[in-house]
Every structure is written in structure tokens, then in C-alpha cells.
Amino acid sequence: MTAPAVFEAKHYKSELKPIWCPGCGDFGVLQGLYRALSAVGRPPHEVAFISGIGCSSRIPGYTTAYGFNTVHGRSLPIAQGVKLANPDLLVVVAGGDGDGFSIGGGHVAHAVRRNIDLTYLVMDNQVYGLTKGQLSPTSPKGLETVTSPLGSLEDPINPLLYMLAYGAGFVAQATPADMPGMTALIEEAIRYPGFSFVNIQSPCVTFGEEDQQLKAHKTKMKTLASLKHDSSNQLAALDLARAYGTELYTGVFYRNPNPPPTYEALVKLRQAEQSKKARPHHQLLEAYLQK
């Protein structure tokens, strides 16, 4: 059996049955991802799909790609190692708002500034799903959860604004309530030659708030296109991003119109240049001989 020349969405679907709650937003994200991958067309074995821990982080197992369901919060550093070790791979990173912005928050700025060609999908549900409903860093202030029975006392973070402040070249937001829109954004993010980020509002039906469910999304969402937003304007993007938590904008906030070379491209140049200086294997140590 040879691999099909064209990969359809179903070729990215594995046999493992998702353990998500019926109705979880992540089902939609998974569908959109299958489609986006098929649109991009890389064979599954050339895709490395890296995640942390959380309901959303289960996603690699549901694809036929190489998957690595790592530890909580460390998907980005691990993915960077994968990509630098083999820049020919398509590397997708995914996880939740807790995984990415709480315990993993320290890695984001550095992944962004290195500009390694990764696509980072966050399934932002404003709650900790897997551990059953605690506060997440995107939970609105005052929210009552099992860890904030009297209401949270702190402001949420703003992932869109952060990513822009970090200098990310591609920043978008999507919801599975708009499947074609989300699919197109994931595809565009994958195709962007550099670090790209899509914040996906993926509702938690079990622990999430009423107004953050798919139904609410459908009425609430506004496409940035409809606002005539110019996605090459970083300052305008910063301004719009400030509405995170109030407005549900979908689409591309910012796309660097002149993507700089990726980190791995610079690495390749350096390797090519330096390889001339390589010593034969058994003469490595001669470098230390007294001159």
C-alpha cells in the first residue's frame, strides 16, 4: 500500500476515540484542523504535533501525525527542539489557556522572538477543563469557580495583546462556531513562514460560562474583515486586541507583510558556512593541541 498522493481530512484522523465531553468545542477544532492539514497537504508522517496537558492537549492523539503529548506547559520549548532538529517537518503546537498562558506563559515570548516556524493553536476556554473547573488566566475577574468560590480577585490576561507585544508575525482569533472561518485561519497560520498564533475560543460545555458557548459565539462574533481592519497595521492590531474579553473578533489581527527569515533559515545558513571548518571525526581533539 502506498500513501495516497492527496491527503484528505480523514487521512489525518486516528483511531483513538476522543475522551472529550459531548459538545466540547475541541471537537470542532479537531475537525477544522483535519481540513486545514489536508488543504496544506503534507503527509501525516511529516507532521509533528506537540501539546502539553489539558483536555485540549489531548488533540495530537486524535491525528495520524507524529504526536507528542508532553507535560503541562512545555509544548513550546519541546516543539522548538523538534523543529530545529528537523526543519523539514511541519510542526503544530496546541494546548489550553492554562497550559499556554499560565504554567507555560514564560516560554511564549521567547518562542515568538526566535521566530521559529511553528503554528501555535490555543483552545482558550477561560477555564481549566481537565482538572475540573478551576480559574484559568483568561477567566474574567470575579468569576466563581471551585478555586474561587467567593469570586476571583485578579484580572485576566490578554493573550492577543501579549502576542502582539511579543512581536509575533501572525496573530489571529477564531471560533469553531464558524467552522469555515476557523479552518481557513488555521491553514493560513500553518502557511505563514514563521511563528504564528491562533487563539481559538473553544467552549468548555462542562465548566464554561453560558456566554462563552458556541451558541453565544455565533451571535457575538464579529469578523475583522467586516471591520475593514488592515491586518498589516500592527498598531491598529494592538488597539483592537485590547477588546479581548469584551468583543469576540475573529480573523487576522496582524500578519507581518514582510516576514523576516526564520530562525531555522539562519541556522541553515550558519551550518552551511561553518561546515567548511569541520574536522574529520577522529581529529576532533586536535583542536585542543597546544599551538
Partner: protein, 587 residues
């Protein structure tokens, strides 16, 4: 004529004593001497006091040595800041800047009566001979050459190399200063001559390197393609060297935002099929703990170098200690068996690193290398290491045929416990790697039954390591009734202790484990068989190897722990003394 000479120098930041030590090392070793140098700085970041010790010998140098034969003090304040690092004895000769005056009374309080006090007006001599005070260390080198017979030509060659590019004037000044020093020494012979015997080896080019150099070189030799790390004393030089070198061999270094990211990226690169490594010291090891566990359960090869310093916490960041063995073996939750290796000197830092990669790749496991500050940063003059017989092992990847045959089971329960490992890019090799427990395919499970099987697999695959007697060094008579066990930098002290003991007429053997974990029970049992008394010597408050041995082997009553906190290295003499004392006690 002496076979062995230990020199210590100390001065203020600008005095250049460390650079002088390096010149001495280079000069002596190019003449065929064996040589070793350690250096030490005050806590001030720059401009503080600095010191070095240089040991020169006609025989292989096994450790930095004990009390100094010769002291060069440019001022006493700075000198005494180094305390135990520049140990004195009644045989020490003191050379010092005349201006500084005689050594303070505190010396006597410590019980040291200097054998010979030699004030030299070093600054004046320098100014007079060279017209500047900057070439002070060249006068010192001249004095040492004159009094101890270190060939002047070699020092002069070194001076040419060092100052040749820095303009005529500087070169000339230093050459004049050197000559003045030599002349002065000739004109003022020592009361007790201390000339070094001629070296036995022919002059020739040696490797000048430290343990960190050799770990980096070992990694390159083994084929490292990825290094992810974060700076920390005293391991940073490994990353620094690789940052220069690895690109030549198609690899990458990533300076990460912290140690977690460092091991994270490294694990990622290993998952992607490349040999990979990270290096750090104690605090960084703590942070890497979680992802070490991930590598264990996902069965990913990985080399982690820990250059030990004094702990706990920030502890003594620039001093050696051997107190991270428990951490290496036992940190992390759950049941884990993680191989731990330790080099004992600069030379075997190279081989140990290659071995670490081989074990990591063969057994699909993280491997810890425990170096320490002393080995890592001491400079030695070594003969070129012959690498032609060194094996390099790569991980067992499933063949195309194997993958075509049947669905790939990444964690297949094989006889050996080792399952062929694919990596992204390999067709039909896709699987889910995970930190969660899994079945043979890699799918998540919460079954206790599968968990037990996988634990067994992960332990069983490492059983063969316990048979690796090649990862031990045995010295002395196998039937000796007395013995030492020592590892890491302490092993070099024990090697000399065995010789001292022999010279004293004691039959003492020595076992040096390069493999610290898993405990190779049979090797130790064999070693213990003939023993009535023994010491497990370690630079840690608890004596961690001794305790670990007890966990797995019945350690004879006569074998005791000889352990103390770091930054206070053992001396060969005291090991012999303690062992002989112990012998007097019932076993």
C-alpha cells in the same frame, strides 16, 4: 631533584596570576611535563582577588595535590582569602613581594612555620628591567624558572605567542622581565634546592583543556546535533564551546529562556530523531526534573550533564561538591531507573560523555553525567586521546520492512525491553509519545496492569548495565584486605593514596565506578570479597554513594563512609591515614 612540584599564586585582580599559571602550564607541558592547574577567584565579579595552583610532575598528575611546595604571594590579604584552597605545610617555601612585608602572624597561629621566606622586590625588579609595572608576572615566571628549573625557552616561547600580536613594546618588556627574574633567581639560590627533574616524556604538543572542554568534545564525537541549555556556573563553558563548534557538524545550540526550556527543547530534538544534550548545575537540575521523567516514560535518549557545585540551593556556586548523586539517581516522582555516570578527571570526561550518549541511544533513556567544578574547570596538559577504538552507538530505528510488516508498536514489550524507535519523517512510523502511561502502541491507558508491565520494561532494559564491569576501574592487588571506593574528582585523590599506601608498605586496592547507577552489584560484591576494611570516599556531608551501595548490596561492616562537605578536597595522605586508623578497629 623533584618529581613533583606544587605551586600556588595569589594576587589582586589586575595582577594576572591566573594568566601566569596558564603560561607555566603551557610551558612545562610543552617540555614534556605532566601538568594540572586549578584557579579560584574571590566573590567579586571583577577586580577581586584571584589565585591559581599549578602542579607539575614527571609522572601523570592525578589531582591538584595537597599542601603547596611553593607559594607566590603578591600581597597577603588576597593570599589568605583563599584559605583551604592554598593549603600550607611546614615544607612550604614562601616567595612574596617584599613591599608586602613578611607573612602575618596568623600563619603561626595556624601552625605553619614557613620553611623558607623569600622576599623579592618584584615590582621594582619589573620596573627596573622592563620600564613598566605591567610585566610583573613575567618576573614571577622568571623566578620560578630560575629556582625550579622550568625551562626558560618554553616560557619565552609562550610569552612570544601571547604578546607577539600585541606590539613590539609589550613583547620586549615581558622578555626583559623574564630574563630579570631568571637572573635574580640564579643570583639568589634557594637554601633548600627544589629543582624539578627533567621530564621523562619527550617534548611535544599536548592537549591543553579542562573537563568542560572534554565533555563538549565528547558530545561532538558522539554526534550531538542539538544542545539546549541555560547558563550556569560551572557548566556554562560546555554550551559556550558548542556554540562555536556544533554548527560545523550540522547541529544547533539553542540558548533557552531557562533550564526547563533547555531540557524541553532537548527532548524535542531527541523525539525528532537527533542526538541531543543539555548541561547545567544543581539548581538547573532541579528544574529539569519533571522533563527528565517525561524522557524516561517516553523512552527518549538524552544526555544531561550536571557539573556539580556546592549545594543546597545557590550554595557555593564556584566550589566542587559531590552531593548531587541522590538527585541524579532519585529525583522525580514515580519509579524511575536513570543511569548515572561520572568522569574522574579531564581526560575521561571525554570518554564518559561518549559512553553517556551510547547508553542513552542504546537504551532509549536519559543519562546523567555527574562532573564537578574541579574536574570541569581544572586545566590539564594531556597526550592526544586516541579515539580510533571508541565506539559510537546509534538508536535502533525500525527498518522499513519492520514498519511495512504490521502496525508499528512503539513500546512493544520485547525480550530485552528495548523497542525500536521511529521519529517524525519516517513513513509508517507515526505514534503518540506521551508522559501518560501507555500501551504497546503508545495509546494512553489508566490500567494498573499495563502500568506494571511498562514499569518492568523500563527497568528490565537497563539490567545489562549492571554487568558493565568495563565502567569500573580497579587498581591495586585484587586480594588486598584494605580498599577505597571513590568517584568523580575524589577518585584522582584516591589513586594517589593507593600509591602512597603502597610506598608505606600497605596493600590497598581501589575501585572507581564510572557507572554510579544502577548499582552494579556483582562488581562491588567482588571488590568487597577480600576486604576487611575499606572507605567510601566522597565530598559530601552525607556520603551519598555509601548510602546507595547499602540500598542494593550488603556492605561489609568494615567498610565505612569517609565523607565531608564540599569545597574542601581530600588529600591523598589523609585517606591513607584514615584507612590505617580504621584497620585498627574490629571489622
Amino acid at each position: 631533584m623533584l618529581d613533583d612540584l606544587i605551586l600556588g599564586m595569589a594576587g589582586a585582580g589586575g595582577d594576572g596570576v591566573v594568566s601566569a599559571g596558564e603560561s607555566l602550564l603551557a610551558a612545562a607541558s610543552s617540555e614534556g611535563y605532566h601538568a594540572l592547574m586549578t584557579k579560584s577567584f574571590g566573590s567579586q565579579i571583577r577586580g577581586g582577588e584571584s589565585s591559581c595552583r599549578v602542579r607539575l610532575s614527571t609522572k601523570k598528575v592525578l589531582n591538584p595535590g595537597g599542601a603547596l611546595d611553593v607559594v607566590v604571594a603578591l600581597n597577603w590579604d588576597d593570599f589568605f582569602k583563599f584559605g583551604a584552597e592554598l593549603p600550607l605545610s611546614i615544607d612550604t617555601i614562601f616567595i612574596y613581594e617584599e613591599k608586602a612585608g613578611p607573612p602575618p602572624e596568623t600563619l603561626k597561629a595556624r601552625g605553619v612555620v614557613p620553611k623558607e621566606l623569600i622576599p623579592v622586590s618584584i615590582s621594582e625588579l619589573t620596573k627596573k628591567s622592563s620600564g613598566t609595572e605591567k610585566s610583573k608576572t613575567s618576573v614571577v615566571l622568571g623566578l620560578l624558572s630560575g629556582w625550579f628549573g622550568i625551562p626558560a625557552e618554553a616560557i619565552s616561547r609562550g610569552i612570544k605567542k601571547k604578546f607577539g600580536s600585541k606590539g613590539e613594546g609589550l613583547l620586549e618588556a615581558n622578555e626583559k622581565a623574564l630574563a630579570a627574574g631568571i637572573e635574580y633567581a640564579k643570583a639568589h639560590p634557594l637554601a633548600s634546592p627544589h629543582e624539578l627533574a627533567r621530564p621523562k616524556a619527550a617534548p611535544g604538543s599536548k592537549m591543553l583543556c579542562d573537563g568542560n572542554d572534554m565533555c563538549a568534545a565528547g558530545a561532538l564525537f558522539a554526534g550531538v546535533k542539538f544542545f539546549g541549555g541555560y547558563p550556569i556556573t560551572p557548566s556554562t563553558e560546555v554550551m559556550q564551546t558548542l556554540s562555536k563548534e556544533i554548527w560545523k557538524y550540522g547541529g544547533t545550540v539553542l540558548q533557552c529562556e531557562d533550564e526547563i526550556a533547555g531540557i524541553g527543547a532537548t527532548v524535542g530534538a531527541s523525539f525528532a530523531g537527533r542526538k541531543s544534550m543539555t548541561a547545567t548545575s544543581g539548581p538547573g537540575m532541579d528544574l529539569k526534573t519533571e522533563i527528565l521523567g517525561l524522557a524516561t516514560i517516553a523512552e527518549l535518549p538524552l544526555v544531561v550533564l550536571n557539573v556539580q557545585r556546592g549545594g543546597p540551593s545557590t550554595g557555593l556556586p564556584t566550589k566542587p561538591e559531590q552531593a548531587d548523586l541522590f538527585q541524579a539517581a532519585f529525583s522525580g516522582h514515580g519509579d524511575v531507573l536513570r543511569p548515572v555516570l561520572a568522569p574522574t578527571d579531564v581526560e575521561d570526561s571525554f570518554k564518559t560523555t561518549v559512553t553517556a550518549f551510547n547508553i542513552a541511544e542504546q537504551y532509549q533513556t536519559p543519562v546523567i553525567i555527574l562532573s564537578d567544578q574541579e574536574i570541569a574547570q581544572r586545566k590539564e596538559a594531556l597526550d592526544l586521546i586516541d579515539t580510533t577504538k571508541l565506539e559510537v552507538i546509534d538508536r535502533r530505528v525500525p527498518t522499513a520492512a519492520e514498519l511495512a510488516d504490521k502496525p508499528y508498536a512503539r513500546f512493544a514489550l520485547t525480550e530485552s525491553g528495548i523497542s525500536p524507535i521511529s521519529h517524525p519523517g519516517m513513513e509508517k512510523g507515526t505514534y503518540l509519545a506521551a508522559g501518560i502511561e501507555h500501551n504497546e502502541k503508545g495509546d494512553p491507558t489508566s490500567s494498573g496492569g499495563l502500568h506494571a508491565k511498562m514499569n518492568e520494561k523500563r527497568f528490565k532494559k537497563l539490567e545489562p548495565l549492571k554487568q558493565r564491569s568495563d565502567l569500573f576501574e580497579l587498581r591495586g592487588n585484587a586480594d588486598a584486605k584494605l580498599g577505597f571506593i571513590a568517584w568523580g574528582s575524589t577518585a584522582g585523590v584516591a589513586r594517589e593514596a593507593v600509591e602512597l599506601a603502597k610506598a608505606d608498605g600497605h596493600d590497598v586496592k581501589l575501585l572507581i565506578p564510572y557507572l554510579l547507577h544502577p548499582i552494579a552489584e556483582q562488581v562491588y560484591a567482588d571488590f568487597f570479597r577480600s576486604l576487611t576494611h575499606g572507605l567510601v570516599v566522597e565530598l559530601s556531608h552525607q556520603g551519598q554513594l555509601y548510602r546507595m551501595l547499602r540500598m542494593f548490596i550488603d556492605v561489609p561492616k568494615g567498610v565505612r563512609s569517609f565523607a565531608r562537605s564540599g569545597a574542601n578536597p581530600f588529600q591523598p595522605r589523609e585517606l591513607v591515614k584514615r584507612l590505617i586508623e580504621l584497620k585498627g578497629q574490629p571489622s
